[in-house]
């Protein structure tokens, strides 16, 4: 099967408009007879469900949490990008497009990224109209901040809770449609299979997580907005329930999985504290606007700090290595995430890590507190040389900007980041890879769509900060609701889809068999035991840097672990009750398959690009080295076992941007 990205003809800037003008529409009277299933209620799924319902489709929306408002988009802190150019600092649609393609290390599809940049401004207008309380300046206009990998301020934010406010905006739009009966909401439901009838996605099988009931749901099209698969690493910044199951089941039913190895390891997370740890907490990238990252220059200072004999605040300026500022003077502390993470790992691997495990660097706000304090003293006509006063005034400014993040840090680490620098270390955060989709966001299965983090399309090999929220809402509010009409226009005479067909029967049976196998297995190890083991393999061998030997051993170790899981996992309780261990077991079973494909993809991609760093392919200075012959998307077709997956390539063509070495120096 040849991959057809269905990108429209014409000049880049006119493609989306031309496409919208030409695709088929469904008239409002017919929309009433068409059902659409949306799985996942984060920014992508939630905004899509609301918009499709506003257009008149009958929407059934599903989430595994107890309310759509809990989806993990809610945890996004820093902000959302939009090419509004409110700051007059030279921003434009083209520049956002350019930054995103470059930031993704030239591994994303040009047309999709341009469209994303094009609709970005509409997102801000839409959200403000919904009542999203973005930060404003004293003139009452919207405020912006800057994020990594760019030279303009285009990030809109709501304190450190931008994802929360945008999600609550989408949730409010959903609520309006739920109230009108246009969305039927299924909370605490997990999707466990896609049902394909005559080659088209026509429904899903779900498990009601409260009573264990297996249900069949039909529709004319199915949309997955089910997020990323970072939890394959066990420890990540994802929510505990975030999983790959919906995407993986779609893959097993024919949807190609693209670039699974592209993972974002976020540079500013709170370091691991012990074996009991269940998840990692992110500290927003926005902190790098004001925080300076450093480690000591001398090993003896490192040792003294680790032993508690030396306080970081007592270390003289000349004994500190602000390694990002040193290596990347143009972007400094605001280099993109992949670059910042690798630089932290490089320093820690060289023995300069500042905590007991040697896996932490400092993120220091002392300079920012002083700078802001002096500014405030000047404004207020106070003594700029009064160190205590300056410090106090500066802290107030920092508190207003990042207060909730500082509080979160203090609660977890039990140290006061206003007084001593934060300790941070990279952690798994976001997955750029995902289900392959064409320009219409349709997967290789007709009628099955994939949006937001769950698809692969916009971020290439590395995502820039504040772009995930942008993509989720762009897909859900402004792209999918148009493109899905083109497909559904053929369905206006189809009538309701019956769930009483052999295809639904078979899919339900498949799900029931897996559940029965798990609850009757009576093995000796818990689900977490296997999940943690998988996470260790992934982190050690498919993490921030990868090589052929490790990847090969990861592939065989994951296959063995998967075998051990099915033989020896212990799932307490029964299938027909609230049973979180069973839900977890089903998710981990899928992670154990995805993990192997992930390693296979990483092994196959013999180049370094963005978050995928192959030790064999680096420049003399240790930077990622791309290879022209890998300028394609790897789309894997399921063939029974992850190891048998078949590779399909989508060549990436850059006509509007010159592919060059990605430099932030």
């Amino acid at each position: 099967m040849a991959l057809d990205s269905k990108t429209p003809e014409g000049p880049l800037a006119e493609k989306w408009t031309n496409h919208k003008n030409k695709i088929d529409l469904v008239n409002p009277a017919n929309k009433r007879h068409i059902d659409v299933i949306v799985v996942g209620t984060g920014l992508a799924g939630g905004s899509a469900a609301a918009t499709l319902a506003e257009l008149g489709y009958n929407v059934k929306a599903f989430c595994f949490q107890d309310s759509p408002r809990r989806a993990h988009s809610i945890a996004a802190q820093g902000g959302i990008n939009a090419a509004k150019n409110y700051q007059g600092d030279g921003d434009s649609t083209y520049r956002l497009f350019y930054d995103t393609v470059k930031g993704g290390d030239y591994r994303s599809r040009e047309e999709n990224v341009y469209r994303l940049a094009e609709v970005s401004a509409n997102i801000i207008d839409q959200c403000v109209a919904q009542g999203v309380p973005f930060a404003r300046d004293y003139g009452g206009l919207l405020d912006n901040r800057s994020f990594g990998g760019v030279l303009v301020s285009r990030t809109f934010y709501a304190k450190g809770q931008t994802g929360q406010q945008l999600l609550l905006g989408a949730y409010s739009a959903m609520n309006r449609q739920i109230g009108r009966g246009k969305i039927k909401m299924y909370n605490r439901h997990e999707m466990l299979d896609v049902v394909i009838v005559n080659g088209k996605a026509r429904g899903i099988i779900t498990r009601n997580l409260v009573n264990g009931k297996i249900e069949r749901h039909s529709a004319h099209a199915v949309v997955l907005g089910t997020g990323g698969y970072g939890n394959v690493f066990f420890l990540s910044t994802n929510a505990m329930g975030s999983n790959v199951t919906a995407a993986w089941k779609a893959h097993k039913r024919g949807a190609f999985f693209a670039n699974p190895c592209y993972t974002q390891i976020h540079p500013t997370c709170i370091p691991v504290s012990g074996d009991h740890q269940s998840k990692l907490t992110l500290m927003s990238e926005s902190l790098r606007n004001d925080g300076r990252i450093w480690v000591p220059k001398k090993k003896e200072d490192v040792m003294a700090i680790r032993e508690g004999k030396l306080k970081p605040t007592d270390l003289a300026e000349e004994d500190r290595d602000y390694y990002l500022e040193r290596r990347y003077p143009a972007f400094g502390n605001l280099v993109p995430r992949d670059v910042a993470s690798r630089a932290a790992k490089e320093r820690c691997d060289a023995g300069f890590g500042v905590n007991a495990t040697g896996e932490a660097v400092y993120l220091d706000f002392a300079a920012a507190i002083e700078r802001y304090g002096k500014e405030q003293a000047h404004i207020k006509g106070l003594d700029e040389d009064d160190a205590d006063l300056v410090k106090k005034l500066g802290k107030d400014v920092v508190k207003a900007k990042y207060g909730n993040l500082f509080q979160m840090y203090e609660k977890i680490v039990d140290q006061n980041p206003y007084e001593t620098p934060m300790m941070i270390y990279p952690a798994v955060h976001y997955t750029m890879g995902g289900i392959w989709v064409d320009y219409n966001l349709m997967t290789t299965v007709p009628g099955l769509y994939c949006i937001g983090e769950a698809n692969f399309s916009d971020h290439g090999a590395n995502r820039l900060g504040a772009s995930a929220l942008m993509q989720g809402l762009a897909d859900g509010y402004f792209v999918l609701p148009y493109t899905i009409g083109d497909y559904l226009s053929d369905d206006i005479r189809t009538g309701p889809i019956s769930t009483d067909s052999p295809e639904f029967e078979a899919a339900e049976k498949n799900v029931t068999e897996i559940i029965n196998k798990l609850v009757n297995n009576k093995g000796s190890h818990t689900v977490d035991y296997f999940h943690k083991k998988l996470g260790k393999i992934m982190w050690n061998k498919c993490g921030m840097s990868r090589n052929e030997t490790d990847l090969k051993s990861a592939i065989s170790e994951i296959a063995e672990l998967r075998k051990a899981f099915w033989e020896d996992v212990k799932v307490p309780g029964t299938a027909d009750e609230f049973n979180e261990e069973l839900a977890k077991a089903m998710r981990v079973a899928d992670f154990l398959e995805l993990g192997e494909l992930f390693a296979k993809d990483a092994l196959h991609r013999e180049e370094s690009a963005g978050g995928h760093f192959r030790e064999e392919h680096q420049t003399e200075e240790g930077e990622a080295k791309r290879r022209k012959e890998f300028q394609f998307v790897s789309a894997w077709e399921y063939k029974g076992e992850p190891k048998d997956a078949e590779l399909h390539k989508e060549d990436l063509v850059y006509e509007n941007i010159k592919v060059k070495e990605r430099s932030y120096k």
């Binding site: 989806a71 993990h72 404003r136 609520n175 012990g274 269940s278 509080q407 307490p572 979180e580 261990e581």
Partner: protein
């Protein structure tokens, strides 16, 4: 440290339920409260017992999924945090800790410590929105300046995570802080004015139908709220409600 846990166990909604004692040893002060329960569950499963069911998801204090009534306080003894951000360093060796579900008539128990908070969703369905369709043609985001003060106050109200601690803490099981926060967010913004009267009337009506109690100004909700939502929001809702009622 070593602890005694008294945990509410209830098989399902119709089961009567009871407190059961568990001993747990070698708890690290760096663990979060939920990680401590993970360790307990791991042991229970290995020993062939049923693990304790509790709600949780993001584990960074923002999704609002985690709950728990710990030693008689929603989200436990610390202030300004959810249970997932509560750390064991807040307890001392030898402590006995009571762990119960959020209790309210409108929040029926599903299992053990898991409760059904869908009443909150239904209140939002009744009016927790601004009626604007998605289109690429809404006016430019900067066309209506909003004073920083109003925007910040709206943001403070919008910070509510919908966890239900206010209801669990209230002797009347009132949801006024939760509803007040949503009503306030929109009442403070120009975009929310058009539907302000209908919104407050519909949301309060739904709140009453769900079986939440009234507010008697005790203020426990504000103290226990992990996001510091202010009582002012209740006052503002009452003002809005009165205005809407008088308009008829």
């Amino acid at each position: 440290m070593n602890l005694t846990l008294k945990i509410w166990r209830q098989k399902n909604a119709s089961d009567k339920g009871k407190l059961v004692d568990y001993l747990i040893n070698d708890v690290s002060p760096d663990m979060s409260f939920l990680e401590m329960l993970d360790v307990l569950n791991d042991k229970l499963i290995t020993d062939g017992d049923e693990p304790v069911a509790f709600d949780h998801d993001c584990r960074e204090g923002i999704c609002g999924m985690c709950s728990l009534y710990i030693n008689g306080e929603a989200h436990g003894p610390d202030r300004g945090v959810t249970t997932c951000q509560l750390h064991m360093r807040k307890f001392t060796d030898g402590d006995t800790i009571y762990i119960e579900p959020f209790r309210a008539k409108a929040f029926p128990v599903i299992k053990d410590l898991v409760v059904d908070r869908s009443a909150f969703d239904r209140i939002q369905h009744a009016g927790g929105f601004i009626s604007v369709n998605t289109s690429g043609n809404t006016q430019d985001a900067n066309s209506i300046p909003i004073s920083k003060h109003a925007a910040d106050e709206a943001m403070d109200a919008a910070t509510c995570i919908g966890c239900g601690a206010c209801v669990a803490s209230c002797k009347n099981s009132s949801a006024m802080l939760f509803v007040g926060a949503k009503v306030s967010q929109y009442a403070l913004l120009p975009q929310g004015q058009v539907e302000a009267a209908d919104r407050v009337l519909n949301m309060v009506k739904q709140m009453d139908e769900e079986g939440f109690g009234n507010c008697t100004n005790t203020g426990a909700c504000e103290i226990e709220c992990p996001k510091g939502i202010s009582l002012e929001n209740i006052a503002r809702m009452n003002t809005e409600y009165l205005k809407a009622s008088l308009k008829g």
